[in-house]
Each structure stands twice: as C-alpha cells, then as structure tokens.
Homo-oligomer: 445 residues x 2
C-alpha cells in the first residue's frame, strides 16, 4: 500500500478529505497505516471512522496499538468499541491485554457476558475452544427453509459465519449441518431435516489447533462446529483463523528446526532478554554435546601431531556431513508434518537415503579426491583417508537424518528437534571417529 497521500493529508490536518479517503479503504489497509503512526495520532484517525468500521479496523491492529487505544479512550468509547467487536476478536483482545486494561474492558460487561468470557478465557491455549466464535446460526431440523432464512436475517451476523448453519435438538446436541447455498437453492417450504447433512465433521473444545487445521486441509472446510464433552454445540471455527494457525504452526517448526524455543512474539517487538532466553538453552546443550568431538580429537593427539595436515580437512568434513544430514532430516521432518510419511515407511526411507547417499557421496568424494591429490598435491594416503571419510560421513549423515526424525515421532517427541543443529552435532562426532579410524588404517598411525 502507498500511504503517502494519507500522510500528506494528515500533515495538512485535512481531516475532511482524510475521512473520505479512509471510507473507501479496506480495513486491513487502514490498520496497516495506523500501526505505523504514534498512538495519539492513531486515536485521532480512529475517531474519524464510523463505529462499525472502527471496530473492524481495531481487530486488525497490532496488540501494542490496541493496548494504547484502550488506555487512551474514555470508558464510554471503550465499551462502545468492545460491543462492536466480534466475539472471537473480543476474546483475543482480552487474552493479549495486561490486567489493568482487561479490568477496564470488563467493567461494563453484564454478568452473563462476563461468565461467557471467563469460560472462553479458560480454554487451553492453542485449543479449538480458544479459536472458536459463538456467532453461528443454530436451526431446528423441523424448520422450513423460509423459517431458517428468517432466523438468519434476525440473527443478523455480518460475517461469513452464516454460510454454514447448524441444526441442533432441544439439548443443543448437533444433529446436522446445512449450507446457506442449499437454503438459497431449495423451495421455501422444504424442511431442514431433508436438506441437512448428517455425517458431520466436528471437533471438541480441547482438541489441539494443529489437528483442527489438519481437518480443514483434508476436507477443504470453510468452518467446523465445536462441541463440548456432552456433544453440545458451543461454537464454530472459521477458515480465516485456521490460515493463521497454519502459519503459526509453520513458524514454530522453523524455529524448532533452528534450535530455537518457539515464540508467538514478533521478532521486532520481543526484547533482547526474551530473545536470548529462547536461544540459550539449545546452544548450551549443543555446545556441551560438541565437547565430545574435543575428547575424540584429544585421544588422537599423537596422530594429529605427526600428520598436522589431517586437521586441515576437519572443518570441510564436518560441514559437508552436517549439510548432507540436514538435507535428509529436513525432507523427512517436513514429510512427517504433512502426513506423507509414517513410521511404517521407515524402511522405505532408509532404502532411499542409502541410494541417494551412494550417488551424492560418490560424486562429492571423487571431486574431493581430484582436488586434494591432483590439485593440492597431498599424499595419496591423506587423499584416500579424506575421500573415504567423506563418503562414509555423507552416508551416515543421510541415513541418520532420515531415521532420527521418524524415531523421534514414534517416541512422541517433536521430529523437528532432529533438524540441522542436533544432526550436525551427532554427525560431527561420528565423522571424527570414522576419520581417525580410516587414518589409522591407511596411514598406519
């Protein structure tokens, strides 16, 4: 988006024209513009917006800006704003805000609303319950299409949540779902029970958000009903929230695979102590594991002293082994996440990695031999030692890169921890053992 015009109008204090420009803009764009301003200016513009649009814009703002606005507006404005928010946005807001702001927001809530809000705030983080909204259309199967359409009109939700309607019985147990398109395309006196689908995909309030996202992907859903332990319908989850979940879960995997503790906080808004805490644990664990390599080297002190040249190839062998291993582990971890590989495929993965590592290892080793022996003029013994070690390291790296994530998953660990950093450390240790084993054999050390 190009915000230059808006900035100019703001500078010239031409609020009339600014209001006009804003009225034709998408709410997400307005929020993006406001997020870059300081909070007093944000509030100023925010007050130019019609109430309903203001609430929409608010739900797209960063939580920093949301907090600033909540603090700056008076009680009446705040209660109007919060009233206009969709229920799930209201819950998101309450989850993000510090206690004093939450108190200010809840001051004007009715007893019933406060109860409902508390119930929602109690759903575990990353559960279906924490994602759902209560704005859905509930019907009875005895209704006609006409009655159903009237109910939709009366409920008046101004969102895509009306595209799927839910038929429930007297105990609020879900009996069927009916699509708005079927209502529109059917005769007015048709009964809902003749239109509704009875084999329903649903989730429980405590289900993990990643499983919910997998259902959306598998069945191409636009929304899914959420039921409590008594199978009563309590809410629905819509695809727009699932898109966010998918990105969040991917971000987590990226972080875990780089030996970072995952964090929801955006990089720029996290302070350096938080960032450092998320990194230090794994760095320490890996640093301590890497000391094994030092122990191995010190065992071969005499060999290293008599043939110093052996040292020169250690970084190259370690790097190549690490890279070869992380290629395999990344492919396998990603395939596990996408459900393309399961434990029963372990043998197939091993066969593939053996095949690939022979091809790749052979190519790398031959080129390496040419470089060391012919171009750099090292002795045949050293050239052979390095070449054989390289081949074995690539093989070991690729096979363990293929196996370890699958085994981790079987042990109910997150396969993502078996990514580059850990594989590299493991491969390094074994690569050095192979190196000196081969060196003792060929060079007679």
């Amino acid at each position: 988006m190009d915000f230059e015009l808006l900035e100019e109008l703001l500078e010239n204090r031409d609020f009339f024209q600014l209001k006009k420009e804003l009225s034709s803009m998408q709410v997400a764009d307005i929020a993006e513009f406001l997020d870059e301003l300081e909070s007093k200016m944000t509030l100023l513009i925010f007050r130019l917006l019609p109430k309903e649009k203001a609430a929409d814009v608010f739900s797209y703002l960063s939580s920093d800006q949301q907090q600033q606005i909540c603090v700056l507006v008076n009680d009446q404005e705040l209660s109007q704003l919060v009233d206009e928010l969709d229920f799930d946005d209201k819950i998101d807001l309450l989850e993000e805000m510090p206690a004093n702001v939450v108190k200010k927001i809840l001051k004007n809530a009715t007893e019933t609303e406060r109860k409902l809000i508390n119930q929602f705030l109690n759903y575990p983080e990353r559960s279906a319950g924490s994602l759902m909204t209560i704005e859905f259309v509930d019907l009875k199967k005895e209704m006609t299409v006409q009655e159903a359409l009237d109910r939709i009109r009366n409920l008046g939700f101004n969102k895509e949540t009306i595209y799927t309607c839910y038929a429930i019985n007297g105990k609020r147990i879900l009996e069927g779902i009916v699509e708005l398109k079927d209502l529109v395309l059917s005769p007015k006196d048709e009964k809902i029970e003749n239109l509704m689908q009875r084999d329903i995909i649903f989730v429980g309030t405590n289900d993990d958000q990643e499983e919910v996202a997998d259902l959306f992907k598998k069945y191409d859903l636009l929304s899914v009903p959420v039921v409590d332990q008594e199978k009563r319908l309590v809410g629905i989850i819509t695809i727009d929230d699932i898109v966010d979940v998918i990105e969040q879960e991917n971000t987590e995997d990226f972080h875990r695979m780089a030996a970072l503790e995952p964090s929801d906080e955006a990089y720029l808004s996290a302070n350096i102590f938080t960032l450092a805490r998320k990194r230090i644990v794994w760095l320490l664990v890996l640093m301590i594991s890497a000391t094994f390599t030092g122990l191995i080297l010190s065992k071969y002190e005499d060999a290293l002293q008599s043939v110093v040249a052996l040292t020169f190839f250690i970084p190259m062998l370690m790097d190549t082994g690490g890279n070869a291993g992380s290629q395999a582990s990344t492919l396998v971890i990603r395939s596990l996440t996408l459900g393309e590989i399961e434990f029963k495929d372990l043998w197939k993965v091993i066969c593939k990695e053996v095949g690939v590592s022979i091809l790749v290892g052979f190519t790398l080793s031959v080129l390496n031999f040419i470089r060391i022996y012919f171009l750099q003029g090292y002795s045949l013994g050293i050239a052979l030692t390095v070449t054989i070690t390289l081949f074995c390291t690539v093989m070991l790296a690729k096979i363990s890169g293929g196996i370890l994530p699958i085994v981790a998953k079987k042990l109910k660990l997150d396969p993502a921890i078996m990514a580059s950093p850990l594989i590299t450390t493991i491969v390094d240790t074994f690569a050095l053992m192979i190196y000196f084993g081969v060196a003792s054999w060929i060079l007679g050390l």
Copy 2:
C-alpha cells in the same frame, strides 16, 4: 481413519454392505482408503460410487491412482468422469498426467472446451491463472436481488464458489462484488448496484501465487477475482486452493533453508536420482566454500603443531558458531516471509542481535571457561583463547545471521538461501581466522 471394517468387507466381497458404508463417508476419507489399495481394487470400488461422488473422490486421489484409473476405465466412463470434475480439478488433472492419458481425456472434449483448457494450461506454473476456476457467478449491476438469486439457481454450481458473486459490465469488466449473504438478507427488489462493494481486491492471471496467498491472509478473503490484462473477469480463486499454496510455499522455504532445491514431488514417490539431483548442487557449492577453512588452517600449520590442543576446540567453536548464526538467520528469514521485517528495519535487527549476542555469548563463554580451565585443566592461555574466540564467533554469527537475509532480499535474492548451511560455512571461515588471531596474540604463536 479406521479402515478395518472396509477392508474386511472387501475381503468378504460384501459389495452391498461396502457400498452402504461408503455412502456415509466423506469423499476425502474414501480417497484416503482407495489410495492404499492396488489400482484394480480401487477401480472396483470406484465403480460402486454414484457418479457425482466418484468425481469428487477422484479429485482427492493421488496422481498415481488418478493415472491408473484413467488408463483402466473405458472411454465412455472416462468422459463421464471428466465431465463431472470441477473445472479447476480438470486442469490439475491434465497438468499431472502423461501425454497419452491427456490425449485420452481430451478426445471427447468439444472445440470450445479444448480451447479453454489450452488457455488454462498455458498460464505459468504458480500463477494466479493456474489456480483459478471458471465456476463463478457473474451478475449485472442492473439486476435485482431476485434476478440474481435466480441466476445463481440456474448456474447451479454446487460449491462454495457462489458465496461471492461478481457484477460485470458488457465488456466483462469487473464492476463490483456482492456477497451471497447480502443477497439473502436484502429485499427481493433491491438493485445489485446498491448492494455491491466497489473497492475490490483482485489479482491478475500472471500474479505469483505467493502474492495471492498474502492477500488472502491480509484481508481474510474467502475468494478473490482474477482479471486478464484488459481487466476482464476470467476466473476466481478460492481459499481451499490457497491453503494448499501456503503449505507448498512453506515446504519450499523449509527445503531452501536446508540447502535443497525445492520440489513439489512427495518424498516417497520421488526416485533417488531426482532426490540426489536436488541435493548435490548445494552440497558441492558448500563443500568448495568449506575448503577455505582448510587453507586458513594450513597457514597456521606451525601453530597447530606446537599447540595441538588448539585443534581440540575447533569443532565445538564451529558448531556453536553455526548454531548461533542459524538461530538468528532463521528468525529473520521467517519474519521477512511473514512481512514483519523490511529492509528499513535493518538497523533495529543489528541492534537486537548485538544485544542478544552479548547476553548469549557471555553466558556460553563463562561456562566454557569454567569447563576448560577448571574442569579439564588446560592452561590459562588456551582457556582464554577459546573463550574469547567463542564470544566473538557468537557475536559475528548472530550479526551476520541477522543482516545477510535482509541484504539478500534487498538484492532480490531469496532470503532463505541465507539459512543455516551458508551461514555456517561463512561463520566457520571467520571463526577460524578469529581463533588463530586471538591465539597468536595470547599464546604468542
């Protein structure tokens, strides 16, 4: 899903009961079941399904099974099947199938249809054009709500593609969009032009799929109109396809960040030559870059010979540097992908990484000093050399891990290439230079 019952019925050849079970199953589940059977059995069950459901199931099958079915069925069955497919699924099928199967499929297509199909097959891979479907509802702004609903009924698309309708003029130029919910909630004689939204988010046929997905994420869209260069409406893209795009783009990033050339092919179905080809290039490039480390070491041959103990810490220093660097680069790459960081934030990133690396580097260095000097009993000179190098390496790694992805993006390169493998190689080289620099200074080598 639990397919035991189905397998039992299949074994007992109880097709009557099998058909009954299948009729209450979701198409995605039936496809999952069929994907695990051999193709003749798949065809057998496939023929038990009602025609429309069969086409739905077919669109969920793996391309291997799709191909088998296309080959096994007779011409008439094939043309019926293909007729029932949604247009975008038809295009996907044609893109995946080998030439002889494509020929078989297109044999019965009309001239107009063949032209349309060819036009779609010509859109660049990963463009908006290749993702869109032609099944959308086009209206005129002069229509009333009643006329619009009639048109929807007449077009009779049995999909979520009717939730957003598009008002076009005589030249098929897009003038506005109107949501089905607004049609349902408005009086029957209201004009479309009074209901339609005029500030429309749209994409061009050649737009990259990643940009399209970003629009869906930013504006919480369910579908987006696609226009050609003359701004004529030619198709729409729906959210279910965008969910697949998001996963595909994430997979690509995972692959690139592990020095793999990205591939659409599933791991288990790719042969070892393809897998090897996707890995060898980067391994070679990185192996050759890693030989710099060997050159540095050979320059310090004398130092290494006189203090062999220096060698023992090389792997630990390299690993820790690599890990510290890839933590920073992964965070920054992911933030760039999600649009949380831009080039203008470069300075903020540098400040953050300097801060974090002081905290992290200090902790690691102190613990390391204690281990080397007090626990392992090395000389103060060596302990100090290793400790100072560790601190500097962590700092260097984190700062370059933070900067390089941002610079890569500025240079129109994919930031993902600046992930762990390349950062590790770069950091290794500099870490060794620091190591021997510090060693010369402290140990007087």
